[in-house]
Symmetry: C2
């Protein structure tokens, strides 16, 4: 019997140790554009490390479905990584606390379709996992010369359940 | 009779003098995540100027409809500004070339629903104009202490037509 992890809804409070939830209503609201818009200001703890700079990329990922076998997680030691869903659809977010250089027990979250996330620098996380096509995301992360990637493959996989 | 500007489809080539179109297929593609995703790498000419840093905010803007009267454009002298549509819906992008410190004749573009834009630092542009609710956008722009805003109000407005 594979070890199981049940998904929970993505909320800023539960996700805070791992990063930021990017959604309307967070942070400080400023009315702009002659009252036609609100700006929820500076919501992500962006960090591009020494020798890095901010970059904006787009990821196109194949949709997956639950239950899903989790074989590995990865982390970026030199910078944060933010994902903005361009599709208005929920996606799966897996994170794990660090325990002496390896990931502890993972946690799984499902976004509500109107949320993005920013992983703090060095946070163990699963690869990008849309649950619906086309699976397009804007990504704000570090551009730099370092490898900036560590993978951890579990000796025994986890099963992520809805 | 008000001066009119007809919208055209947003394409990277037409938009290049004003900024970057953020869409799948641009830039250099890298296969990542064991073949499960493609990364279209570093698509935006981000520029946060002296004394600034990158920030990630969310804008919620009231939807408008065409034809639309354009009374003003603005620009940010100290940094670029990128808009990622979180709604999978087209929005209106108005830009204008600079002519000696004031905007020349504006141009109007409509995105295809799967596109974002990055305005180059100092580019005259209209305020954020979704055409459909809810009008939510992730915005990557400069966080800093300078005002970083210049507005130009047209003595004679323009009419943006579909």
């Amino acid at each position: 019997m594979m070890r199981q992890i049940a998904c929970q809804p993505l909320t800023p409070a539960e996700f805070a140790p791992f990063g930021d939830v990017l959604q309307v209503g967070m942070g400080t609201a400023r009315v702009i554009n002659q009252g036609m818009a609100e700006r929820f200001h500076d919501l992500a703890r962006l960090d591009f490390g020494p020798g890095g700079r901010a970059g904006l990329s787009i990821f196109a990922a194949k949709p997956r479905s639950l239950p899903l076998q989790l074989d590995m997680v990865e982390r970026h030691p030199d910078g944060s990584q933010a994902f903005i869903a361009m599709d208005d659809a929920p996606f799966l977010i897996v994170v794990a606390p660090d325990q002496g250089g390896i990931p502890g027990t993972p946690r799984a979250f499902i976004s509500n379709g109107a949320q993005g996330v920013n992983f703090l620098r060095g946070t163990w996380h699963g690869v990008l996992t849309p649950l619906h096509p086309p699976g397009h995301f804007a990504v704000i992360d570090r551009i730099g010369d370092s490898p900036n990637l560590q993978e951890h493959w579990f000796t025994e996989p986890w099963l992520i359940t809805a």
